[in-house]
Amino acid sequence: MSEATLDRPMPRRFLGRLTAGVPQPMLIGGAILTVFLVLAIGAPLISPYDPVYQDIAARLAPPSLAHPFGTDNFGRDILARVIWSARVDLQIAVLGVIFPFIIGTATGTIAGYFGGLTDTLFMRVVDVVLAFPFLVLMLAIIAILGPGLASFYIAMGLVGWVSYARLIRAQILVLRQSDFAMAAKSLGFSHWRIMFRHLLPNAMVGSIVFSMSDAVLVLLNGAAISYLGLGVQPPTAEWGIMVADGQAFISIAWWISTFPGLAIVVLAFGFSLLADGLGEKLGVRP
């Protein structure tokens, strides 16, 4: 082993060890997400222009060396806006998943573990939420709370938890009957301990993988909500809004909508690959 590693350059050895046994899709997905994360964090350093600076003289400029992605109808640099948007959109993807994940996991665990009336109650609530079309319910909640990202997260939490609750509940129902759950019960462990230390860690794998692909849906949802003017407010750069704004000029300036649209596709692709690889690694199919 030492012979083989000695003549290898240091960075490769480090990378090789880090990525050993990691499925390829996960590597690529991880790399894509890392790039977006770097863009988001380093936006002030990387971005060539101020994302809201309007250069009226350079309105609707096609992609060129000065403006690699072109400019929009206000003369704002598309590349700068795409980079700055990564901050908002990554935040949407992460927070839009975390709230439903936590709420859904908790309710699903309790419903599945206790069963009976508790289960019936929780699952009827799930049915009620599912009875409404997803986007319509989201829009209704945001309309009540007022437009903005905070409302979007709250609406996401209120609507999105049902899928997690169902996933986790189904797993807990199976695990509850397992010998190790019986063993934990017969050893006199508390409900709390059995649920969250013994059952949940074994039930969560599937929903962790699902959360990755869910991030894609949330991202598209965020874009849709912003597109409808209920999410991120202008002039903040956000891919969904940029696509919406560019729509009017699609025949004369294709680049306004295309580049932010591509950014959404690539980030979504990254999440999908990560979900795929994670599923392979943890032994579940999303």
Binding site: D179, A183, K185, P201, N202
Partner: protein, 345 residues
Amino acid sequence: MTIDRTPLIEADDVVLHFPAPGGGPLGLTRRSVKALNGVSLSVKPGETIGLVGESGSGKSTLGRALLGLESVTSGHVAFDGVAVSAKNPRGLKTLRRETATVFQDPMNALNPRLTVGEAIAEVLRVHNKVPGPEVGKRVAELLSLVGLDPALAARRPKALSGGQCQRVGIARALAVEPKLIVADECVAALDVSIQGQIINLFLDLKERMNLTLIFIAHDLSIVRRLCDRVAVMYLGRIVEEGPTEQVFAAPRHPYTAALIQSIPEIDPDIVLPEAPMQGEPPSPLNLPSGCSFHPRCAFAKARCKADPAPTLRRRDGHGWACIFDPGQLPSPATATRLTTTGEHP
């Protein structure tokens, strides 16, 4: 022997019915699985009792009912003189603190996400068995007690063999310092060579720690080797119960006799009797009338079907639930030869 002391755990006319799945949209025609139909059993401290029977006979259910893992439909379970039921949390708590279970499938009985050491340490911490800093030491002690290298504490169940997992399961059970251990088919999933080791471990622990053991098994030779007393179950009833040697030498219930005759011998020259018992046990959803064994019994009379199921009769500490008196059944020839597993004291 500690035969005269009060029972450690006692079941009195325990009935346990599960609702069967299905039964129409509103569950109006729902039937129930009659898992236990009036079981009485008492186990004295220090005793090892074997529960045997075919699958579906209710032996595992009885084990779970005794440990309060299933709530009984009617009847009582008492541990150390205190009634155990969902309505009596204190009784249940005592029971949980002083009993432990060893399960059939050693791999599944351990949480796959915890290391062996964590799994055992958790029990010690929850029950405050040893002061915090000494947990690690006690874990090592328990592992060596069941014949495992304490270094295995850092492994997860996946990295252990079936036999090692079962030893860990036993170590975890012992961590409770239980008065009673229920071992539910705990060697059925293991290789024969490992089975012997685990049985010897049980014999050893039983002697050293004065454990009371309820040993659920379908392997009669193992029960014969390990148990002082044996209870034979059929369709949720105990049909025969008595000292192991007496039961094996002179079974009083035709079912027991047939079971003993069915044991395959290791000697290939011995011809097995041709099907001492026909078919499979009837469904516990739909019990036969009268004695539930009558459809398969070679000696069944008309009244076995018509009369209510015979109750357990007792003579010289050996009970049986059959209308025939001892000696009226032709004694199975194989019973006397059943010593291939070694001499029992």
